[in-house]
Symmetry: C2
Subunit: 228 residues, 2 copies
DNA sequence: CAGTATATTATGTGCAGACATAATAAGCCA
DNA sequence: TGGCTTATTATGTCTGCACATAATATACTG
């Protein structure tokens, strides 16, 4: 027992078998290192990893205890839409519906924390799986931050793909909602208006500057999948 | 520059400023350690962390390169429902609607990979925020794995809460869908049938044994939030 | 020239020791 | 007793070194 993985698994076993119950204080790193016959750094790596997954609570001086109410963390991977579709075994297709440059409505300006009058690039595009509408991309790009956004040819390459290589971001946020699809969206997806669709809204930032905000509307029945 | 965080940030900066572009091979750990004036282990920690977030691709002997198409990873935290509601500043309430023990329908048996005839505990309960329905919990528990599930008093404590301290799990999965809420669900949530609701379905396992599967139906308009 | 054995190389990990840091406990003084 | 200072303790991290492991490049052999 001298690899951090083995120690990780052993500690996990003790938590699962309730040898160490939620709320319990577990032995300190030095003692565990002695028990397992390894260096303290090795124990540290194992416990740190478990703390990152939320199973352990660690505080200097206070010690390490088993988390009382662990919060499950589901990681949702958000791949390139092309990849997403191809990974499902379908042929990828893309069609630009509209492209405009001009001022944005208040809701978009608020999301991007941008001043009135700043012109944005607005794109509406449909991603197809086996020639059937798969999802609608409604995107606003801040050309003041993303150089070349005004001149890029979005009829050939999707903004989703173009931005990945032309507009790095430092952070962002994502909201997931179930919404009755509005008429225009439903029409583009070739479904009935008002059907329940999964809508992801994502806004990304480069430090303090808003890069882009996008609203991805999926067809009714679409599932988002993740492991715990 | 001798902490792994500083090195992490500096490497991140070089990726963001495109000093190192997607697909580029970056210097090896030994060289970076020399450049930054620190130990190789320190560089390793920084690069390993970046690789975990998906920004770097590392392979033995082949070296480290900037990921060509980084996959965004959104972490969705799934807290105890009580906490979720209380964190939103509302008063938590809970009401058990029904409790039955018996055989499960085929769809549930399939999800849990359980044989015909195995009796399961079936619960239907409503979680309230400020006395208003917040979400409906439709749960099936495998009492062969979860000791005490048949006798626990679910009128006082929600299964959501009880299981957390009585039924540890090793892994599980989660699917997120937008669905028109069926009449019974809508009635329990006091909304119109057919409205678009966000439905999370979660199944958890203890090694090879299914622990429980649950369907959480949110009120229309509910948002799931996450950072990138 | 094809196929296999061997060397090389970059990352992955372990160890012992040291110091840093945060949080608590103990001691002290008014 | 209340509030401040000081010791103690567990985790956090860095260093220098060693060896393990995987993937690739090179040399060799039939």
């Amino acid at each position: 027992m001298n690899s951090w993985q083995e120690i990780h698994d052993e500690v996990l076993r003790r938590i699962h078998t309730r040898q160490w119950k939620p709320g319990d204080l577990i032995p300190n790193e030095t003692d565990l290192a002695q028990e397992f016959g390894c260096a303290r750094a090795t124990v540290n790596r194992a416990l740190r990893t478990l703390a990152e997954t939320g199973l352990l609570d660690r505080r200097r001086k206070a010690g390490t205890r088993v988390t009382l109410h662990p919060v499950g963390k589901a990681v949702i991977e958000i791949p390139l839409i092309r990849r997403d579709i191809e990974d499902r075994g379908a042929r990828y297709g893309y069609r630009l519906i509209s492209r405009q440059i001009g001022p944005a409505p208040a809701s978009i300006r608020a999301a991007l924390r941008i001043e009135t009058g700043t012109p944005l690039v607005h794109l509406l595009a449909c991603h197809l799986a086996d020639a059937r509408p798969y999802l609608l991309e409604d995107r606003w790009i801040n050309p003041a931050v993303v150089l070349g956004a005004e001149t890029a040819d979005f009829t050939r390459i999707s903004a989703n793909e173009w931005l990945l290589t032309h507009a790095p971001y430092t952070h962002g946020n994502l909201t997931i909602a179930a919404e009755p699809l509005p008429p225009q969206t439903a029409a583009a997806l070739q479904v009935a208006a008002g059907d329940a669709g999964l809508v992801l809204t994502r806004t990304t930032w480069d430090h303090a500057s808003a890069v882009t905000t996008v609203r991805l509307s999926h067809r009714p029945g679409h599932l988002l999948h993740s492991t715990l």
